[in-house]
Amino acid sequence: MLDVAVWRGTTEGSFEHFDVPRSDSQTVLDVVTYIQRHLDTTLAYRFSCRVGVCGSCAMKVNGVARWTCRTHVSSVAGDGHLEIAPLDHLPRLRDLVCDMTPFFEKWTRAGGAFVPFEPPETTVKRGFAAIDPLSQKRLEAEAGIECIGCGVCYSECDTVGRLPEYLGPAALNRAWTLTNDERDGRGASRLRAVAGDAGCHSCHTQMSCSERCPKRLTPAASIAGLKRASALAALRGKL
C-alpha cells in the first residue's frame, strides 16, 4: 500500500490521506486516477494524453514539479509515501488543478506567436522555406522546440516566485526558438518584448528550469541566448 497525501482545496486547504494499492509500472497519474475513480470522485485533477505529449498533468510530487503520467511511483516513492500538490506560482482552482492563464499569457507577451516575415500568400506561391537542418539558427531552435507547455519549469523557477511578472523559462524559451526561426518576421520587436524589467535579464541562471524540464530542454540556455541577442541589439542601437 502507498500512503498518499493529496492537496484538497484552493489556496486554503490541507492534505488528505489515501491508501492506494501498489501495482507494477504504476505512475503518479495512475495513483491520482485510482483515488478519483475508487476513493473520492470529487477529486479534481487534469490530464489528457497520458503519454507525455500534452503537458497537462504536471503536479508537485514529494515537493518537486513533475509530469505525473511519465513519473513512475517506484522512482519517487521508495519509502511508500507520496505527497501530491498543485504546481507553484499559479492560482489554484481546485485540488490539483491550477489556472494556467498567467503562464500562457506570458507566452503571448513574450511574442510567442509565430509571425511570418511575408504574407502567407507569398509563401504559398514561392514554396516552402528551405532551411538547412545544420545551420546554427536551426540548431538553436531545435534545442528548445520540443516544449510541451507543462509548466514544470515555471513552478520550479524561484525568480517567478519572487518577481511574479517575470516572463519565466517556458515563455522565454519559446521566444528564443522563434528568434532563431528564419521565417520569423518579428525580429527586434520580440527582443524588445522579452528584454524589459521582468524579462530575460531577470533570470539568475540557477538552472532549476533546465534541471527539472521533463523534456530535458535547457530554458536557461535559451534565456542566455536572449540576453546575448538583446545585448548585441542594444550595442548596435537597435533595441
Binding site: 519572487r162 518577481l163 524589459g196 535579464h201 538583446s230 545585448a231 541589439a233 542594444a234
Partner: protein, 116 residues
C-alpha cells in the same frame, strides 16, 4: 514589461563591471599578501602610498567599478525582494552607488594624502 533598452544596458553594465573588477580584485589580493608577508608597518605602507598617483588611479577605478556593480546588484534585489519599481528603485540604487563612491573615494584619498 517596460524599458527593454534601459534594462539591457543596465544588465550589460552590471556584467561588464564584474569583468572589469576581476584584475583589480586579483591585484589587490596579491598586493595585500605581499605587504603582509614583507612585514611592513602601517607607517611604512602609508609612506609608500602617499602621493602615489598610480595608486590613486588603481584604487579609484576599483572603487568606481565596485560602486556601479553593487548599486545595480542592489537594484535587482530591491525589485525582487521588496517589489520596488520605478523612480524609487532607481533613486535607491543611485544613492547606494554614490554612497559607495563617496566612502571608497574618501578612503583612497586618505591613503594618498595622509602622511604617516
Amino acid at each position: 514589461m517596460t524599458h527593454p533598452s534601459r534594462e539591457t544596458w543596465l544588465w550589460l553594465i552590471h556584467r561588464g563591471s564584474a569583468v572589469a573588477m576581476l584584475p583589480f580584485v586579483a591585484g589587490h589580493l596579491i598586493l595585500m599578501m605581499l605587504t603582509v608577508r614583507s612585514g611592513l608597518s602601517a607607517a611604512d605602507i602609508l609612506g609608500r602610498t602617499q602621493g602615489s598617483v598610480s595608486l590613486v588611479a588603481y584604487y579609484g577605478f576599483f572603487v568606481l567599478f565596485v560602486s556601479v556593480h553593487a548599486a545595480l546588484g542592489l537594484r535587482t534585489e530591491l525589485a525582487e525582494k521588496l517589489g520596488w519599481r520605478g523612480n524609487r528603485l532607481d533613486l535607491a540604487a543611485a544613492t547606494m552607488g554614490l554612497l559607495l563612491l563617496a566612502t571608497g573615494g574618501r578612503a583612497v584619498w586618505a591613503v594618498y594624502s595622509v602622511s604617516a
